[in-house]
Amino acid sequence: MLHFMMGEFEAEFPTDCRYAKNHMWASESGERIRFGFTAYAVRLLQDVYFLDWNFDAPATVSSRQLLGSIESKKAESDLFAPLAGELSEFNATLLNDPSAINVDKYGEGWLFEMAAEVDAQSELMTPSEYVSHLADVWEVTQRTIKGQLN
């Protein structure tokens, strides 16, 4: 596990997967890559109330294409594709009950699976690259939150 301190909260990141800039973990599962929210994302969202996708799988998506949206106790957000590729499956159980995102973010709380070219996969970061990315964006993240509270 790698760690990143979000204020007093310690976010944990498994070292057996890779990471996307939009705060998703990526874990190979056969031919596909499974994606889910990292501890960083979940800490910002807190309790997830609602998750919705804009289309059905399978679908071809481009990098940063709008996929759907999420609503939590504290926040709402649009969700975007971490990579270009073939989105093969959304985690259907989350649609009725998204609580697994909070309870088991690196397991049952996975979001979707994709097949992507090796080239596209090179955008994914190693755990240590992701943690240093977090250090870089932490200030901006705080300001984003703070800016919206004003």
Partner: protein
């Protein structure tokens, strides 16, 4: 009855029959309303600074109500651009929204940053009031007339309190309605106006009706100057801090600097039609494109529907600067020039770090609870 008030109807750009009908219905009612001098001009935003409409607007020194299809803030600062200035008349049409918005932002400002100085802070405005009403607020003209009468009443009341009648008349001996009326609407031409300047009697502080000043105007002044559609930024100087990020970003020479080193839209017609990029890079959201489809860019009040934080930016949405650079590149290509991407005039906002102590995250997020959703 109040002092005479000028009412200006700015026609929409489109020939949407429903809109035209509302405009005409309103003009008719305004024309018949006592104390109102009515005029019709082409779309305020399209008006040229040296055209007939602009000259007519500049000629009005008294209180004005401007009806347009623009958002209130867009209309106000478009008028400012045309040298038509005055104190902000607050309309009850948008009052609820405005109060919420201002309440929030003031609380935030005072709590965590010293007040930034805005360009408008150093610009005195005449005391007369300008009310900008959004024609999209109501479906029928009659509803607007309710607001017009409220404004007439408000202006009469404020004249009395400013003029100090109730200071020198004892509370038990109230001035008669007739003397109040004479005070509010003097019949001699040496009376002092509410701003202390010599003011001529009826009509002379508004549009000059063709049938003479002695009779209430029953005509409507119609200005049919040809108004080609224009596209240019309008700066809200109530928000602008003169940071110069817009002039750095725009590569089409729209912005300039005046004698006092204040930003201005110097060459509005250099602006690329449809491109709102500078508005996206403005850190104060002070640049309005009144005809843009996105309400935030067209000058709408801050969205009040949602009180949750929007994390889209953190989860991969293109940020405003990226989008602005993309839009600017599209325009550079259209103009036969080389694209520059993110290499030119990109705001330095990220550098000026508001350093926060790291333990504040919890407080910040929990602060949302106190908003009492």
């Amino acid at each position: 009855m109040a002092r005479r008030i000028s009412a200006v109807v700015s026609q929409g750009q489109s020939h949407n029959p429903r809109k035209r009908e509302l405009e005409e219905e309103l003009v008719t009612l305004l024309m018949m309303e006592p104390g109102i001098d009515a005029a019709v001009i082409p779309n305020l935003y399209d008006v040229k600074p040296d055209g007939t409409s602009a000259l007519a607007l500049q000629g009005v020194s008294g209180d004005v109500i401007v009806f347009s299809w623009l958002y209130e803030r867009a209309a106000r600062w478009t008028l400012d651009r045309l040298d038509v200035r005055g104190a902000e008349g607050v309309s009850t049409i948008n009052a609820e929204l405005d109060e919420d918005e201002e309440g929030d932002s003031e609380a935030g400002d005072s709590a965590d940053e010293e007040k930034k100085s805005r360009v408008a802070d150093d610009r005195p405005v005449p005391k007369r009031r300008i009310y900008c009403l959004e024609l999209s607020a109501f479906e029928s003209a009659a509803e607007f007339m309710v607001e017009v009468r409220r404004i007439q009443k408000e202006l009469t009341t404020s004249v009395v309190s400013l003029g100090g009648l109730d200071d020198w008349v004892s509370p038990t001996a109230k001035p008669s309605p007739e003397s109040l009326e004479r005070f509010a609407n003097p019949t001699n031409d040496t009376a002092l106006g509410s701003n202390g300047t010599l003011q001529h009697a009826e009509g002379s502080n508004g549009f000059h009706a063709s049938n003479g000043a002695a009779e209430p105007a029953v005509d409507v002044i119609r200005i049919d100057e040809s108004a080609d559609r224009r596209w240019y930024p309008v700066i809200d100087f109530g928000r602008c801090t003169n940071c110069m990020e817009c002039i750095d970003f725009c590569l089409f020479g729209v912005y300039g600097i005046d004698g006092a080193e204040t930003i201005l839209v110097e060459q509005p017609d250099n602006c690329r039609k449809g491109c709102p990029a500078c508005s996206r890079v403005c850190p104060e959201n002070a640049i309005i494109f009144p005809q843009h489809k996105s309400p935030a860019i067209a000058g709408a009040p801050a969205e009040v529907g949602t009180l949750k934080i929007d994390l889209s930016r953190l989860f991969g949405a293109p940020d405003a600067v990226e989008q602005a650079a993309r839009e600017r590149d599209e325009q550079l290509v259209l103009a036969g020039r080389e694209t520059v991407g993110l290499t030119v005039g990109i705001p330095k906002r990220q550098e000026e770090n508001a350093t926060e102590s790291k333990d504040e995250l919890d407080d910040l997020i929990d602060g949302l609870d106190e908003l009492d959703i």
